[in-house]
Amino acid sequence: MAEINNTKSASSWKFPFRIKIENRVDNPPKWLSPTLSVGAIIIALLIGAIVIWMGGGNPWAAYSHIAKYSLGSVGVLSDTLVKAIPLMLVGLACSIAFRMKLWNIGAEGQFFLGAFGASLVVLLPILPEDAPKWLFIITMAFFGMLFGALWGFIPGLLKARYNVNEIISTLMMNYIAIEWNNYFIYAVWSERGFQMSRMFQRNAWLPRLSDLSTRWPFFSGLTTHFGLVFAVLAAIILWLILSKSKWGYEIRLIGDNPKAAEYAGISIKKNIVLVMMVSGALAGLAGMSEIGGVVHRLQGAISPGYGYTGIIIAWLAKLNPLAVILASILFGALILAGREVQPAGIPTLIQGMIMVTLIASDFFYRNRVTIIRRVED
């Protein structure tokens, strides 16, 4: 059968119009995909509003509070960006893997290992305590990415060599990563019995905007840190790789049809390992920027599930690295101000709803839905 076509109609009740659903037989217009994403967010917010209203709250007040305390002033916008930085990097990590239809669910674990790698630089120590700040930044970023890449390399190699399902292996390795960190927090680097390492010395902190306040008072109190530069740079580089480079073409080809890629002489195994490592390195960089820019020590609760939120962000951005930046800011706002509305519950509900409506919106991408006048049978 060349074309598949469903026409549904309620035959018992003769409403003068009926909905016709057909598979698209042409390329959908360019504006459709972003429109659907925005539409999905709006519908998710509407559903969230209904839940708030049923719980006796005022949805309008809740949403305007979220907007005001996440984007309403320079100060809160800066805090939103701080939340968005790890999301961007993790969203990018998921995007590159998903482009090749490699389902890396392990960004959370790679994030923790990245944080661990960066901590090594300070706590082992790899660099002397009084090394210059720029050297700390570079070395910590390097080690963060290295350990993240390593945590991606293992499931990548297992997949390439033994065809181990990467969804299971990456997910399981998240738990190993968290416990790995816990061992060091509880046993090795524990500070006076607390489950955290000592505070890093100041030259191992990522610079913040507020550091510039002596020269420009405008920046005083702004928490946005240097990780933003990492994230934006990574997004641009990844965009260049995916849309302009030979390697990006190979990733696209493997993602769409591995057999065709093999036939074109592209090594799938090599690329599985490579893409998993790059994906892991990006998530590792997120972990590094979080402890270097925000937490300033290695401790347990450094991620409220960034690695998993990254999956939603990657989908919301349709795996486009530049769109990941926007999607991350939206989620950063939701996490930051949502917490003020309710510590748990509604904000996570909205995140989940966005994921559901996004996936559902794909239906309109694949099918053409029209309302037509019912013809007399």
Binding site: D256, A260, Y263, D377
Partner: protein
């Protein structure tokens, strides 16, 4: 359209009048009339995309027509679902089978029926099915699992499924596309025994010789319109039908110029390889192809042809033997190295191997040279160069597609094959391996593909043509090897069909000579 007058004493089981069906951008059926008489095989002929399948999907209740009426057994019937159509005695066997591999024949046939209700007394139903199978000569073991069956046997299960549901009108959508020659003969016998017992059959095809052989009457569609309605097959020639189908004269024998065969390009010695199931499927193949030569490889499907093609380009590991291309050994070398040595493969499976369905035409044509100048520059793919290249190929090979950014999954079979050919030929290969390059294409497209292969031969490429269509092999090849169970049975240069046929069933050329079985030998 002329209203056909049915001769007295002949009953129309199905009559479709003025059927119209449109899809976005195309009118698939435009005021189509179609009649089916009791006990006939009525061929529905047309090129790919002429609207044959659409018309029959309307009859089978899968599509709803926008206009027109359908009468079945004298009663007006506009079906809303396949179920309604089956209840009215109309069954359709699709090109792609809809069977559950891990279940038995009987289980598949009973699937979706109300009987048996809860307790599956399968042996009882095995017997019932066996009776029907015997009645129509559809030999298949009811207890066998689907995955154990050959494609031909699976098709029989699909037919049985419809007969079990009481179908007296059977629609066969390109039933021979997936079958080996011997299986086709068997299918035709079944169809004849069904019409003898009063069933009526619609036979959808674009293969003229099959239509001539099996059908009683023919309706020809061209671009959604009927160009000839219900003419007797005995009154027309193949050329007439081709003309009605394409709208112009078609040359059946392609023009083949003399080319002096040149240097040895491909030489294969004692090649052995495994298939996907880990069984040895190439048992010491030796052959050679020279410059300016088309060498055919004949054989029944599944005798190692695909494995050979894959091993030659490096997609499959050779466990023994030697492949030499232009005096360089390429055995078990990476695929990319083969591409750089000028080896090109037109794979048998266009959608699974040959193309990436969701990528654009541009992305698909640069598959083999994206890393070569001028398209690949440094670490980048130069998108304007790639676009230019794709536009040139679109023009040169007449690929019919709205833009070069269109996903290739939206292309018809013929156009998809043009995309592959454009890519493979434009790389100016020294050795081209073409596996079933015209399978599933319509007459016009087949002609185009064959001309392209011949022009490659004239420009000095060495071509190994692997095909199951003997006619095609005979008209294109300079010499023909015959493969059987992974071994070359012999080589024929004079196109002796008798000998090829014997070799295809496992007799070595030397044996034919010795025993004097060959008629011309």
């Amino acid at each position: 359209m002329d209203q056909e007058i049915t001769p007295p004493g002949i009953e129309n089981v199905v009559s479709m009048r003025g059927i119209s069906k449109r899809f976005p951008g195309v009118i698939a059926n435009d005021q189509v009339d179609f009649d089916l008489r009791r006990g006939e095989v009525h061929a529905l002929l047309g090129e790919n995309g002429a609207g044959k399948s659409t018309l029959m999907n309307v009859l089978a209740g899968l599509y709803r027509a926008e206009g027109g009426t359908i009468t079945v057994h004298g009663k007006v019937a506009n079906f809303n679902s396949p179920k309604e159509s089956i209840d009215a005695g109309i069954g359709m066997v699709h090109q792609h089978f809809m069977l559950v591999p891990s279940q038995s024949v009987t289980e598949n046939i009973l699937l979706g029926l109300e009987e048996p209700r809860f307790r599956m007394k399968l042996s009882e139903f095995d017997k019932k099915i066996e009776t029907i199978a015997e009645q129509f000569g559809l030999h298949v073991d009811p207890e066998a699992k689907i995955w154990q069956l050959s494609v031909g046997e699976q098709q029989r299960v699909e037919i049985l499924k419809m007969l079990y549901r009481g179908a007296d009108v059977l629609i066969m959508d390109e039933p021979t596309a997936v079958l080996a020659p011997s299986e086709i003969e068997e299918l035709f016998n079944t169809l004849r025994s069904m019409t003898d017992q009063g069933k009526s059959i619609v036979f959808i095809s674009h293969k003229l010789h099959e239509v001539m052989e099996i059908s009683d009457r023919v309706t020809v569609l061209q671009k959604g319109r009927v160009t000839s309605s219900g003419i007797n097959t005995s009154d027309v020639t193949r050329a007439d039908l081709a003309h009605l189908m394409v709208g112009r004269e078609v040359v059946f024998r392609v023009q083949k110029n003399e080319v002096q065969a040149g240097d040895l390009v491909l030489s294969v010695e004692n090649l052995k390889a495994m298939n996907d199931k880990g069984l040895q499927s190439l048992n010491g193949v030796s052959l050679n192809v020279r410059q300016g030569e088309i060498v055919g490889l004949a054989g029944v499907a599944g005798n190692g042809q695909n494995e050979l093609a894959e091993t030659l380009v490096g997609l499959r590991e050779a466990i023994e033997g030697k492949i030499t291309v232009n005096e360089k050994e390429v055995t078990n070398k990476p695929v990319k190295l083969g591409i750089r040595h000028g080896i090109s493969l037109i794979p048998a499976d266009r959608t699974q191997v040959g193309t990436a369905p969701n990528l654009s035409v541009t992305d698909n044509v640069i598959m083999k040279n994206y890393d070569q100048k001028p398209i690949g520059q440094g670490w980048m793919v130069n998108s304007s160069e790639a676009g230019k290249y794709a536009s040139e190929l679109k023009e040169a090979y007449d690929i019919i597609v709205p833009t070069i950014d269109t996903s290739v999954r939206l292309l018809s079979g013929g156009n998809l094959q043009k995309v592959i050919l454009a890519r493979e030929i434009s790389s100016e290969p020294k050795l081209m391996i073409a596996v079933q390059p015209t399978r599933g294409l319509d007459v016009g497209a087949i002609e185009g593909v064959q001309k392209l292969l011949l022009s490659q031969r004239e420009s000095g490429a060495a071509i190994l043509l692997i095909s199951e269509e003997l006619e095609e092999l005979l008209s294109l090849s300079d010499r023909i090897y015959v493969i059987y169970e992974g071994e070359i049975m012999g080589e024929i240069a004079d196109g002796d069909i008798e000998k090829i046929g014997q070799m295809m069933t496992g007799t070595r050329l030397e044996q034919i000579g010795k025993e004097g079985v060959g008629s011309n030998g």
